[in-house]
């Protein structure tokens, strides 16, 4: 409870300071949302020409896009502290975190909150709603629960990627850019059905970096699509937990990384 109330207090302070510049905030919000609208527009253009992609219609892909978009937007909003962690290490701010009687993971997590990602979030969410209205998904309690768990898990997945990037700073000072391939690139890749990719690629993004578990497997389940050969049905049921597992592993990685922190200017 102490941690939760502290977190909410930190978030309140962050939001307040971001709202101080109201015009710039609104402008960011709008530009964020419109950039992501263009994103989906590109996908729609493609479908104007091909009608379907590996057996997926435009709005089925829209559903995929919506889920991953929501997860990524929320992850950017709450995982900002890890995303910009490089600066903390360079400035030596991490020293301050280490002298406080709170966990390092918690402190970095609550250090920042990027409210303007609400723009991106709402755009993805609207696409998800439209896709849902265009599709005939038979919703049940199980499916709603499954979707909610998937969204939380997918958010954890992206936060975990930020954590990996942040942890690498303990050795390299500079965040490894390669993580961006998986975050921004992941959203792009995840916006298409995984069956279009090559086998090794699918395996890598299922078992090593569980990107396919964020939206592809959940979408298969929710839309009751035919499970492709080579994919186990049980795997589809369990997919939403991959994000939690991945998150847990990166937390351990983080803990180990902290022990290697060298500080600055000895």
């Amino acid at each position: 409870m102490h941690h939760l109330s502290l977190y909410l207090h930190f978030v309140k302070l962050r939001i307040r300071s971001q709202m101080e510049y109201r015009f710039s905030f609104l402008f960011d919000l709008l530009s964020q949302a419109s950039i992501s609208v263009i994103d989906f527009f590109m996908i729609a253009l493609l479908f104007n020409r091909f009608k379907e992609l590996a057996g997926w219609s435009l709005w089925e892909v829209g559903f995929l896009y919506g889920i991953i978009g929501v997860c990524f937007a929320v992850a950017e909003m709450i995982g900002r502290g890890f995303d910009v962690f490089q600066n903390s290490v360079v400035r030596g701010d991490f020293d301050t975190i280490l002298i406080r009687p709170l966990g390092t993971f918690f402190q970095v997590f609550s250090q920042d909150f990027l409210l303007r990602r609400v723009g991106r979030f709402s755009q993805a969410f609207v696409i998800l709603l439209i896709a849902n209205s265009q599709l005939t998904i038979s919703w049940s309690f199980v499916k709603v629960g499954y979707l909610l768990v998937s969204l939380v898990s997918g958010t954890c997945f992206f936060v975990a990627l930020f954590v990996i990037g942040a942890t690498s700073c303990f050795w390299t000072i500079q965040s490894i850019e390669i993580v961006n391939i998986f975050t921004n690139g992941g959203v792009f890749m995840g916006s298409y059905p995984f069956s279009i990719y090559r086998r090794w690629f699918r395996h890598f993004f299922t078992f090593i970096i569980p990107l396919a578990c964020v939206n592809y497997f959940p979408a298969l389940f929710l839309m009751e699509k035919v499970v492709p050969s080579g994919v186990s049905t049980l795997g589809v049921y369990l997919a939403p937990f991959a994000g939690f597992l991945f998150f847990g592993i990166t937390m351990l990685f983080w803990r180990w990384g902290v022990l290697h922190y060298q500080s600055t200017g000895h």
Binding site: H9, D95, T96, L98, I99, R100, P101, Q262, S263, H266
Partner: protein, 343 residues
Amino acid sequence: MIEVENLSKTFKVYHHRKGFFGSFVNLFSRKHRIVEAVDNVSFSIKRGEVVGYLGPNGAGKSTTLKMLTGILVPTSGSVRVNGYIPHRQRKENAKHIGVVFGQRSHLWFDLPVQESFELLQRIYRIPQVQYNQNVEMFDGLLNIGEFFRTPVRQLSLGQRMRADIAAALLHDPEVLFLDEPTIGLDVVAKARIRQFIQQINTERQVTVVLTTHDLDDVEKLCKRVILIDKARLCFDGELAALRRLLSTERILSVDYAETYSDISIPNAHVTYREGNRVQYQFSPEEISTADLIGAILQRFKIVDISVQDPDIEELIKTVYEDNRALEQKLTETTAIDLTNRDT
């Protein structure tokens, strides 16, 4: 209170190749060298002591403090602060220590001082009564009230330092670590902070460990000093003892009437020469002051001559420059100076 035994810290310093291709190569092969930042340092500090932890830049002062505060993990050796091992029981240790780094603020840059303090109250779970009492007391001693509602980023250096020190003491820590608390401050601000540290120490029995380059800080605050140089401990004892130990070396300043090419005198060495002004350093055991003056008068014409005991800054400089000579002296006089050091 603080026990440090055979503490060492080594850093791997990587050689960075430059340019685009270089940074690519860096990913796969990195040359490094090992830098010893702290080498086999041991000391213990009792409750209520004020200890100056001194050394030149890069000697390993900050690294030691960072190991005592749980920021860095030691390479070898053991540390205990209030019975806690800082890097393993970091959170527990953090509740009982206060930390101030002169070069950097631990407060929230864009928040007013008051809100920073209230955040700390939440983080450390300080009871309201204790919080109010402390804020009132710090306002009385450091006048933090005059900038209590100003954002930290708008504070002057002196105000910021006052705010930072008060913030570090809000949760009533038993030990206060100060890394260059008076750096960059004017004389008035320095005096105020020194007085505050002294008061906190006497009234609350707070143990204080401070690093500084300002020897006034040391003279005003610290009975005991620990000197480290090139990562090693080279003196641990009372400030007075250090001065006694080293003040056997004296300095003779002479203004010559003419410019001489050879001004060397046996048993005294020239430490400074500019124009006709020359300083000799000598040890009265090797040559008495009278003999030295006699030798000079015999050979040269002089305008002025004076003998002085080196001030503490000079003393410490000699320690840094001539570590080995000191060690030798220490072994000779250990009996006097180090036996009363308890463990």
